[in-house]
Symmetry: C2
């Protein structure tokens, strides 16, 4: 029985750390930003462009109106977005064909829905997320708590928009996940250890 | 370090079974319907009345209008509801003073918020809940799947209304819980075992 684990997470909730530790505990591959380089190999775009596009839903421009008729036109930027997204989905599928793994974000729970991955959503209260942000981000001192909270919410919004655009599902809605974990005041190392035990046990044949 | 665990759950999602098994695994008390008899000791009401009231939010009647003036009146039924709810809260607090325990439903996560209980929400997809219902309820054969789903949703609505009336919080909203578990196709015995390990570990002093 294999392990395919997808982790969606609120920004600064510790989802990435949980994923990395979970992959270590289970001895399986871990994919996060690694995917960007693989997308680059399969598309004509630069790494920075891919990074930008792979985390944002496309901006849909209104169709251009010539006189009274609407022109049928190709939105180049939309097409590039779709190229990157398609390449990303293909690569995610290749990852799970190759070996057991943990995949962070990118709507992988939806991309892999026919494989029935173990779908985790990680969240935390704003106080813990600000604290985590301050511990990890070098430029945190530029912002007060209110400004940091605003930045955190803006990144969540980007993730939500991206997920909902490509999946048609609601990001962070319980029905789309197998377990949702509140990491406020949580020791992520212990959590990863016990969650790994649980996943091993749950996927063991009876 | 003590264990105070509250379990809120969608109807027929296995939350009660999980709670019972978790209490067994941790060797602690388990409170569900037991509370009704304790409420009876502290109020003048019958067991069946208490059962009815302790699971429903009060029905608020519109004030009676005499001519053009509104009468200030005491709604007896509302007062009785509040009596039962107050007795219930006091008993829940006595339980946790007495020993570690698992408490099912009744907004105990909110009642005990100053004790920082470990708050679990249990849910499952409708297919699994119908299956569980058919396995457990003797009169299930009277209903087809559509009718059973309707009954299940009606019971959830009662729980939601009750919780939201007494707590002002949203039932099933992730911020109000520490972990939310989807029990669709889940072995609850294994889940209880591993969740107990996790709780033991999480509450262990570093």
């Amino acid at each position: 029985m294999g392990y395919i684990i997808t982790i969606a997470r609120q920004f600064s909730s510790g989802g990435r750390e949980l994923g990395r530790r979970l992959a270590d505990e289970l001895g399986i591959a871990y994919y996060d930003k690694e995917i960007l380089a693989d997308i680059q190999k399969k598309t004509p775009y630069s790494l920075s462009y891919i990074e930008e596009v792979s985390e944002n839903r496309p901006i849909l421009l209104p169709p251009i109106n010539y006189g009274n008729s609407f022109a049928l036109y190709t939105d180049v930027s939309l097409q590039q977005n779709i190229d990157v997204h398609t390449a990303q989905n293909n690569i995610i599928r290749e990852y799970v064909e190759k070996s057991n793994c943990v995949i962070i974000g990118r709507g992988a729970d939806y991309t892999l829905r026919d494989k029935k991955p173990f779908r985790i959503f990680v969240y935390a209260d704003m106080e813990s997320r600000i604290k985590r942000c301050r511990e990890r981000e070098e430029d945190h001192h530029k912002y007060n708590d209110k400004q940091l909270a605003k930045r955190i919410r803006a990144i969540d919004k980007k993730r939500r928009d991206y997920y909902e655009y490509y999946t048609g599902l609601k990001w962070g809605e319980k029905d789309n996940y197998d377990v949702m974990i509140n990491t406020s005041n949580c020791d992520i190392k212990k959590l990863a250890h016990n969650l790994a035990l649980f996943i091993k046990d749950a996927t063991k044949e009876n």
